[in-house]
Subunit: 412 residues, 2 copies
């Protein structure tokens, strides 16, 4: 794709209102644009990454038997009255009234809707288990939105709900989803800990959080250098440098919560009448689990862990493009035509961003540092001889390669 | 994927409140579930088709140089005051107030937001043209929502906005997008007409509608049997059976509007201050185009044209699955295991839905008719001999095929 059409409006100056690196990069690199506090447009570069994160999530959830649907953002008050949350949720729930004076809210989460969706259908033990998820914009009227996408008022989430006839089946699915979360975060190249609300033990708990370890975010996490133990600082009380339960050494980080998995039990199914007829013909409430993952937050968490002094290097699977072809000469020159030709050739095999703008080399390289693509093919002074430079940002190497060899070059 | 986990809650009885075939199929086939009037959950089967429609749209728009982003649903009143639409839009605009008493609306369309997104960046003729689109849930508080997804209050749309330095460039892009729309609708196997607001002529107009030709919908279209002429009945006044301007014969249909393309000119850029510095250093308002396509409507339009007495046959590119493996025997039997084995083998090459439910053959075939997959592999009484039946719904043929040959069978 041509960079002139890609709409990546990088900024010359450092944005004033960004406190953390990922937020600075998002604004300076032309990834997002704020509409109002806590409400953003994802510009093309960020949205390409987000779609790739979404596809990884879909792959890992589909693999364990989950099924994707899409629920509405508009939710009728009635369902929230049934669950008891209409009165209790408070000001973070965005409420509105339609032209017929009927009350609605904008979904911050979808336990109520999903319960109404399955309750007419999951009427027998034969129809269970079920595991249904969606990827969708959610709404929460934060009192003080901050850190860019970290605590927004409109944000992208994956939410999964599972439905079971008994606790043992819920436990089995909970562990399957937990493993899927581990696979997803590993593929995103993240350094994270899994923190129980009660202890640092793995599995069998009623709620666990997936915390990306960085010195930003809103919770302090104590984690073991082995990577096998993590806990909320307030709950475990372990000092930095102490020996962790798994034998490693305790370190601290202010973590970013990117996932939260719960065993809900019958919290929603009982008040909302979601029940099934069991093998013995008795009627029982369905047992539920719920599993959230913050996608716009993941984007920031990955950026926070994959930048060096605001120079970005996206993990392979979610990089917005595979190759960044940079023409040093201006449109209309022979060298530019060579670069354009290279773009077309490489695009048959790879996702290519072609910097075709009439900008100086300095501007182009600064922008490339923010865009964060691993391989740069620089078409410069030796282009007419059939030679270009290939820079591998990850390995920090540069070599001259003949154009003839480039389509067979080993781009990982 | 196993049908027991796919959550396709088909209904035994015909839903009472559905008037048109596509709406009946959506409800009876377990494609959607109504939350409240005009607000639906897209269940997994419908959402698989929708994602495929979306990918076709992305492919065709990316091919002509458009770039995808995602704007917020929450839109601040201020932008709508700038454009003058806050006062004029009326009751169809859903409005709400945040916890700080700031006013917002839920986007029915995004001219205001996109104008604010590009106006800080597209400041020079060097930065234009631009073509930016999104695929997103939109909101419109219809007085009387009806026909299922046809006229909903929350619905999925693709909206594209283009930005130009002069009218000639807008004209060029308008024709490129128009051709992309033709490609999209052709790939969806739709029979449609392109109707100008003023005449039936092609191109060069300020606004055209893409109308799928069926005897439902809200407008009557006069179209030529050649497929090359279509016009709004009210405007052209041609009688059914008359000779069309292109030599064909005029027929009537009540059309479904699935796309609308506009030359906006400076309608938004002038009041909202979106301007650029031209080659001659003069400041001018940016010239805009806008292009909508209703994705949830497309789903209904395709269903309306691809069913025979409520039996569905999805067009190849957007079919929810390629092959429907149907086990006639119950879980636990040898034949069932053979079917399961077949699912695993075929899934290495194709998208497969495996009916693994403990239901009767009659229920399974009725459901298969609603699910609409072209190829059915029926694992029945001859399975133990290594023989299954392959039914091609499109060609209406059935043949016995040996399991050994099946992975090399020509599924188109």
């Amino acid at each position: 794709m041509k960079q002139s059409l890609a709409f990546i409006p990088t900024l010359r100056d450092m944005p004033k209102d960004a406190e953390i690196n990922s937020h600075k990069i998002l604004l300076k690199g032309g990834y997002v644009k704020q509409h109002v506090a806590g409400v953003y447009t994802y510009l093309p570069l960020a949205y390409r990454v987000i779609k790739k994160i979404e596809d990884i999530i879909r792959e890992e959830l589909d693999k364990i038997g989950c099924s994707e649907l899409l629920m509405p953002a508009l939710q009728a008050k009635e369902a929230w009255v049934e669950s008891g949350r209409w009165a209790n949720y408070g000001k973070e729930l965005m409420r509105l009234t339609d032209r017929h004076d009927r009350e609605f809210c904008l979904g911050p989460t979808h336990e109520e809707v999903i319960t109404t969706v399955v309750r007419d259908s999951a009427t027998s033990y034969k129809k269970l288990p079920l595991a249904l998820y969606q990827i969708q914009s959610k709404f929460r009227d934060e009192f003080r939105p901050r850190f860019g996408l970290m605590r927004g008022r409109e944000f992208i989430m994956k939410d999964l709900y599972t439905f079971h006839t008994n606790e043992a089946d819920l436990d089995e699915w909970y562990l399957k989803v937990r493993q899927a979360y581990i696979n997803i975060l590993d593929r995103l190249n993240l350094h994270y800990g899994i923190v129980s609300a009660c202890s640092g033990q793995i599995g069998g708990n009623s709620s666990e959080e997936f915390m990306v370890l960085c010195d930003i975010g809103e919770d302090t996490i104590a984690y073991s250098t082995t990577g096998k133990y993590a806990a909320n600082l307030e709950l475990c009380g372990l000092e930095e440098g102490a020996t962790a339960p798994d034998g490693g050494t305790i370190k601290y980080a202010k973590g970013i919560e990117v996932g939260h998995i719960f065993k809900l039990g019958t919290k929603y199914s009982e008040p909302m009448g979601l029940s099934f007829v069991d093998v013995d013909s008795s009627k029982k409430p369905v047992i539920m689990g719920c599993y959230g993952m913050g996608i716009s937050r993941l984007l920031m968490a990955v950026l926070e862990q994959n930048n060096n002094d605001l120079k970005v290097l996206w993990p392979t699977e979610i990089a917005p493009f595979k190759i960044h072809v940079i023409a040093l000469d201006k449109p209309g020159t022979t060298n530019f035509e060579i670069a354009e030709d290279l773009q077309n050739k490489l695009e048959q095999k790879y996702e290519v961003l072609f910097d075709d703008r009439a900008e100086s080399a300095g501007v182009k390289f600064n922008d490339a540092d923010l865009i964060g693509i691993r391989y740069r093919v620089i078409v410069g002074r030796r282009a007419a001889e059939g030679i270009v430079e290939v820079k591998d940002v990850k390995e920090n190497t540069t070599e001259e390669v003949s154009i003839a060899d480039l389509t067979n070059y080993h781009f990982e």
